[in-house]
């Protein structure tokens, strides 16, 4: 690939975002996921309170925010792993609130986890096969007759082997997943999610605990998902990575979406800076304010001396 020409998916995504207002909840031309008024409370704490947010189809969208901003909780709401107290969201126009996690995955919205969930006592290839949808042999009675599912199993295995090759795990095909390194487990989890042929891939901190050498390869795989026509939404802390691969960034703080925008400019948005560093952290002291503080300090000293 020539250094200056961008891949087709990137160009298309950038074009879609061109000239878009960098405001929270801004409408996208072709949203795959539309979220309205999702609220999740844990007792008195409102962990998530998202008014409106849209995810553009075919883009890589990053969801960032300081620790405790509610990113993972928000992920859990959307994927059915936790029930939202209020609100609704649609995926491809279909209402998804109250839909259980496995049905969400079947609709084409597949997630990975912050703490990798490689099934360590299954081999790598079995992990991969498990990811395929609508398997005939997953019914108990049909499972008893290999003739009914052997053909489909072979197709699944072929698909799995292709993916393993792409993710450079083919050498580990018959090893137990538990024997893989942390980074390889992340790769396996991502590859396994792709077995279900999802439309929207939701990655919860894909880079957490991955060594720098493997980060580049993981980044490449995430970018490649967009080129294959998938939409990616990911949670991440590493700003370099966010800047490198995302087309659009959504910033959450204290459960709310506080800013949106292209990766280059969103980080200089004052609301984002405030959320990460606290408001007024860099407000200069005015002359009067300085004077007043000085007087206060003097008064205090005098008081102490008198006593």
């Amino acid at each position: 690939m020539h250094a200056e020409s961008l891949p087709a998916g990137k160009t298309a995504a950038l074009k879609a975002f061109e000239g878009m207002a960098a405001e929270p909840g801004v409408a996208k031309p072709d949203p795959i996921l539309v979220v309205d008024n999702v609220v999740r409370r844990f007792g008195g704490l409102t962990a998530v309170n998202v008014n409106h947010v849209e995810i553009q189809r075919g883009s890589i969208t990053a969801l960032i925010g300081p620790n405790g901003a509610g990113k993972t909780t928000f992920f859990n709401q959307l994927t059915g792993f936790d029930t939202a107290d209020e609100g609704q969201w649609t995926f491809n126009g279909r209402n998804m609130n109250g839909v259980s996690a496995y049905k969400v995955a079947r609709q084409g919205m597949v997630r990975t986890f912050q703490l990798t969930k490689a099934l360590s006592k299954l081999t790598v290839i079995e992990n991969m096969r498990l990811g395929a949808q609508a398997q005939r042999g997953e019914n108990f009675f049909r499972g008893l007759f290999p003739a009914l599912w052997r053909g489909q199993e072979d197709e699944i295995t072929l698909q799995a082997e292709e993916l393993l090759e792409r993710f450079k795990l083919d050498a580990k095909r018959d090893d137990f997943a538990g024997s893989l390194s942390g980074g390889q487990r992340k790769l396996l989890e991502m590859a396994r999610a792709l077995m279900g042929k999802p439309e929207l891939v939701m990655l919860d901190e894909p880079m957490a605990g991955v060594n720098p050498a493997l980060t580049q390869s993981l980044l490449g795989h995430v970018k490649n998902l967009r080129e294959l026509g998938m939409t990616v939404l990911f949670v991440e802390h590493d700003m370099d990575m966010v800047r490198d691969i995302s087309d659009w960034v959504i910033v959450m703080a204290q459960g709310q979406v506080i800013a949106e925008g292209p990766p280059d400019s969103v980080m200089s948005d004052h609301r984002v800076v405030d959320a990460y560093l606290g408001a007024h952290h860099d407000a200069p002291l005015s002359a009067e304010e300085e004077e007043r503080q000085l007087h206060e300090a003097e008064a205090e000293l005098e008081k102490e001396v008198k006593e």
């Binding site: 049905k103 995955a105 597949v110 099934l119 006592k121 042999g137 108990f140 049909r142 008893l144 599912w149």
Partner: protein
């Protein structure tokens, strides 16, 4: 020391009705605990349901034997559903609590005074196995390999039916566990959230495992009742469940042959030690214990053996060491 007697008793126990009962009970647990990771501590309840279904249908109501078998299988499935619906969505420990209580409820109901007209109270029920033994194809006589193995024709009929049931159940599980269905169960044992995120209905699979394991448990109950031609409520207490777990872990969980070999070996060793000690005391070889203490000492030795097994071979006889030792983190 009468070694012929000791070995003969031990070998007979190793292939006898106890071995069948515990093998079937442990096969059921293997589906639930070994493959799916469900802690069913109430397997005794499923055995009781199987045993009492035959006994009550035939002895109390005078209905046909095979109707009792059908009712037993059906009730075991119903009990599994009842236990599973509220608990399978919760953490694994809740199922353990609920099943252990449910098994006790079954036992206390069948031994209650108020229902003794139906279930026979603490004495249980007899005289229900007639039509089963009427089907016996073995003519009266002694069968086996003298002087070690010898069974009468009634035992031979129970053993034949019992081992055929064990073989059928094991074959079905062998096929099922090789299939994608079995793969989903093993994945649920590891991490059910991961399986859910891949679009599998985890609740339904756990329920299927619970029902299949319970139904196999009720078959163990059939053999328990028929081999003794009697049912007594206190035979179905929690010890039975924990012996079945012992058998499963001895043989190796999540292995098709695990519960079978585990059960045979468990009974062979238990009787070998028991008869051996008894014989040694009677013949004066061992003088520091009495015959009455043999039963307790036998169980102590079994316990010691299990502790050693868990330390030095936690995966059991057939288990795969790698499946045990690999840990997520």
């Amino acid at each position: 020391m009468d070694w012929t007697l000791i070995i003969s008793r031990a070998v007979e126990a190793g292939i006898g009705s106890e071995a069948i009962i515990y093998a079937l009970a442990a096969i059921g647990l293997n589906v639930q605990f070994g493959y799916t990771g469900l802690l069913n501590f109430g397997q005794a309840g499923f055995l009781a349901i199987g045993a009492y279904s035959i006994a009550v249908t035939v002895a109390t109501f005078g209905l046909p034997f095979f109707l009792g078998v059908g009712i037993g299988l059906l009730l075991a499935a119903v009990l599994a559903l009842l236990l599973g619906i509220p608990t399978l969505r919760l953490r694994a420990d809740y199922l353990a609590i609920v099943t252990i209580a449910a098994a006790e409820i079954v036992r206390l109901v069948v031994r209650s005074v108020a229902l003794s007209d139906t279930f026979g109270g603490t004495d249980g029920l007899q005289a229900f196995s007639g039509s089963f033994y009427d089907m016996n194809p073995y003519p009266p006589g002694e069968y086996g390999i003298p002087p070690i193995i010898g069974f009468d024709n009634r035992s031979m009929w129970v053993l034949t039916v019992g081992w055929v049931l064990v073989a059928i159940a094991s074959f079905i599980l062998f096929m099922a566990m090789k299939s994608p269905w079995g793969r989903v169960l093993k994945a649920i044992r590891e991490d059910e959230d991961a399986v859910r995120s891949l679009g599998k209905n985890v609740f339904s699979y756990k329920m299927q495992a619970l029902v299949i394991g319970g139904v196999i448990g009720s078959m163990a109950g059939f053999i328990f009742a028929l081999s003794r031609s009697a049912v007594q409520p206190d035979l179905y207490s929690t010890d039975l469940t924990f012996y079945a777990y012992t058998v499963l872990i001895l043989g190796g969980a999540a292995r098709i042959l695990g519960p079978i070999v585990g059960s045979m070996l468990f009974w062979l060793l238990l009787i070998l030690i028991g008869t051996g000690l008894e014989n040694a005391v009677n013949t004066g070889t061992i003088t520091f214990i009495t015959v009455n203490q043999v039963g307790a000492i036998r169980l102590m030795l079994v316990g010691l053996g299990l502790i050693l097994l868990l330390i030095y071979r936690p995966q059991g006889i057939f288990g795969d060491k790698r499946e045990i030792s690999l840990d997520a983190r």
